[in-house]
Structure formats: C-alpha cells, structure tokens
Subunit: 228 residues, 2 copies
Amino acid sequence: MGGIRSVVLVSGGMDSLVTAALAADAGGTAFLHVSYGQRTEARERTAFRRIADHFDIRHRLEAAMPAVRAIGGSALTDPAIPIRTDGVDRAGIPASYVPFRNAQLLALAVSWAEVLGARSVWIGAVEEDSSGYPDCREAFFHAFGESVRLGTARPGAIRIEAPLLHKTKAEIVRLGLRLGVPFELSWSCYVSEEEACGTCDSCRLRLGAFRENGVVDPIRYAPPASRP
Amino acid sequence: MGGIRSVVLVSGGMDSLVTAALAADAGGTAFLHVSYGQRTEARERTAFRRIADHFDIRHRLEAAMPAVRAIGGSALTDPAIPIRTDGVDRAGIPASYVPFRNAQLLALAVSWAEVLGARSVWIGAVEEDSSGYPDCREAFFHAFGESVRLGTARPGAIRIEAPLLHKTKAEIVRLGLRLGVPFELSWSCYVSEEEACGTCDSCRLRLGAFRENGVVDPIRYAPPASRP
C-alpha cells in the first residue's frame, strides 16, 4: 500500500470530479465510491469507473452501504418521496438530504485512509451555493476532523480536505475548465440514468454553472419538451 | 415512527447488553446491529436477536457494512491477522482494532436516529479498562457529538450516550447483575461462534470481570485443555 497519500470520495458528479483532479495532481491517490441505494447508483458507478480510468487510479474501492436505503428518509433513497425541482422544502432542508450521509461517507473513507496510511481524505462538498444540507457546513467538517484527530491510531495523521466548500457552482466549473477535467464523464442528475433530467435541483445547479461560464455542458440532457 | 426516543448500538456483547438495558428502561428504544465482516458476525446477530426479543424491541435493524472487511487492517476482519491473546501489540493499539469503526457505527446510528426523530444514540464503549482503541476515548465521542450537533437537520437534537465509558469491566458486570440483564444471551468472543474461546482479549476481560464479582459467567466456554 506504500505511496498512497490521499483517499478521495468520488460520487461521479462534477464537484467530486474537480476535487479528484485537485487531489490526483499530487499523486498517490485512492478513489472511493459509495452506493447507498441512491436512485442513480448504477449510473454513478459508471461515472466513477470512467473518472478513475481517466486519472489512471489503481487503488479504487466501490463500497456498498445498503442500510442507508433501509433507513430511508430521503428523496434520493426512498422512491415514495418525490425529487423536488423547486429548491428547498418548507423546513429549509431539501427532501434530497440523506440524513448525516456525509458522516457515513467520511467515516468509511477515514477507515480506509488509516489502513492505507494515507494522510488526507478529500470530499467535494459545497456549502453556500448548493442545496443547504447540514452535513455540508464548514462547522460540521471542522468537528468531524476533530473526531478523526482524536479517534484514529496516529493522532492528527489524517486531514479532511474540502477544497470546493466555499466556491460557487460557477467557480467550480471554471476551475474544472482550467484544469481540463473531463466533464463529459461525470453524472450529477438525481433522477435519471440515461439522459440527465435537466430539472432536478442537481441538474439545475449544474446547468446554471455552465451557463454562467458561457460553456455548453457536454453531457446529454433530455430535450426540454420531454421534461416533467 | 412516533415515540422512538433512542437508538442503541447492540453488538450482542456484554457491554452493549448492559447499555441496552439502561436505554430500554426509558422506553421508546430502537436497536441497531452492524455486520461488518467480523469473524463472529453470525453469532453476534443471534445474540442481537435474542437480546432484542428479551427487551421486546420492535424497531430493530440489522445493517451490513461489507466495505469494512474489504478495507481490512484488523484481526477482527482479516483472517490473515491473528487474534492476540496477550493484550496490546507493540504500538499500543491491539491488532483487533478496526480502524475508525466506531465512527462508522455512530454515523449510521445517527442517520437512523435522525429519520426516526430519536433524541439519543447509545453505545457501550469502554475507555480505560478495555483494549485501548482510539475510537473508544471520551475525547473522540465528544468531538463526534459536536459533528452530530453541527451536521444534522435539527441542531443539537441528538446526543451521544456512552454510559459505560469510565466503568471497569467488573463494574459493568456488577451493574448488569443489579439490573438483572440476561448475560446468557450475550456473546463477546472475537474468535469462536459455538463455545467462547476463553483466551482472546475479549474473553479474558469478560471472564476476569465475572471472577471479580464472584459469579460464574453463564455462557459456554471451551474447556481449558482444548484452548489454543
């Protein structure tokens, strides 16, 4: 396992793609994907594999967390809860929030980092210009990082890196364009696995970010006439 | 889901049994077991079911975390790493340490608690008189509790409770005897699933605790002559 310096959580979306590019630049990178029963998990895994191939990543792990779907409570994992297309719900937290999901993802990634001897875990979370998930707040990552410092075998050996946390979606696209990331390999839609729906919160944020940069998003979207 | 006030992590060992008794006393309790590829996971699940039946728990979840075994790095999940019978290894952390496992267990339990509307998550961790795992330290639980406070939808709604953290193993047995817990339904051995081995660190700590209380442990142990 010598030489692995970082573990990157790669969902396959555009934020994790840009994060992966930043982490992979330093070399010694391992990629982790987690299927937790999200509607588009098969499509996400395809994106993950293509992105890992692109960066020539040998250390990769596709993990499953079947209990997350069993627990439910989110539009992403419970087909009975509709995916919203109009932003947040009344309580200020979108129905697509998967309760405390990022803690589960980070805990697994830190466990793997500890076994590999890696020094950092990277996550493509975005705080302000995003969906308002509580586990995307800087304060959460700071506290979680403290629990990593205090709860692992080599105190302070593993840092949490969230390099996009305070960027807007448009800034993330701009950064990705500058880094030359293969946006065409990524997948962000919450709903569809063939053509992106173009209407869910995730598609809307993505399309808006490309539009602000005056660039066409290279993935395929359902034609507007066929959208719900 | 109305009326669920607490989620208890119940491995099926004696510490989680006593913790479950304390939590169940208040009512409105849900039990969570996690199979993560530990050697005795089938035996643990049997103990979990018997304990949940004993406390008449309707809300119960048996979760799987298959990635933990894939990650390895622990004698509990990697058959190539021997289970020690002489306490800690040279680095001060036992080979049975599953890297950052408690963070994974707690993150899942908190996710479930959030969906259920529960106010607390209970774990039977023991700090001093135990195996020296870094994710059993009070400082870790404190930091993790902060990440829960800051990373969930209703800030501060879910507490982490570790009521045995500063007890000795003998005190835990004494408390369990006072509460009348069914120790015969629990399982602590790291190695065996039929008769407890009596020699792994977990068995040694348990046997010592019963001996200090002048009580015979009601579970079956392999006869000393047949022990490794």
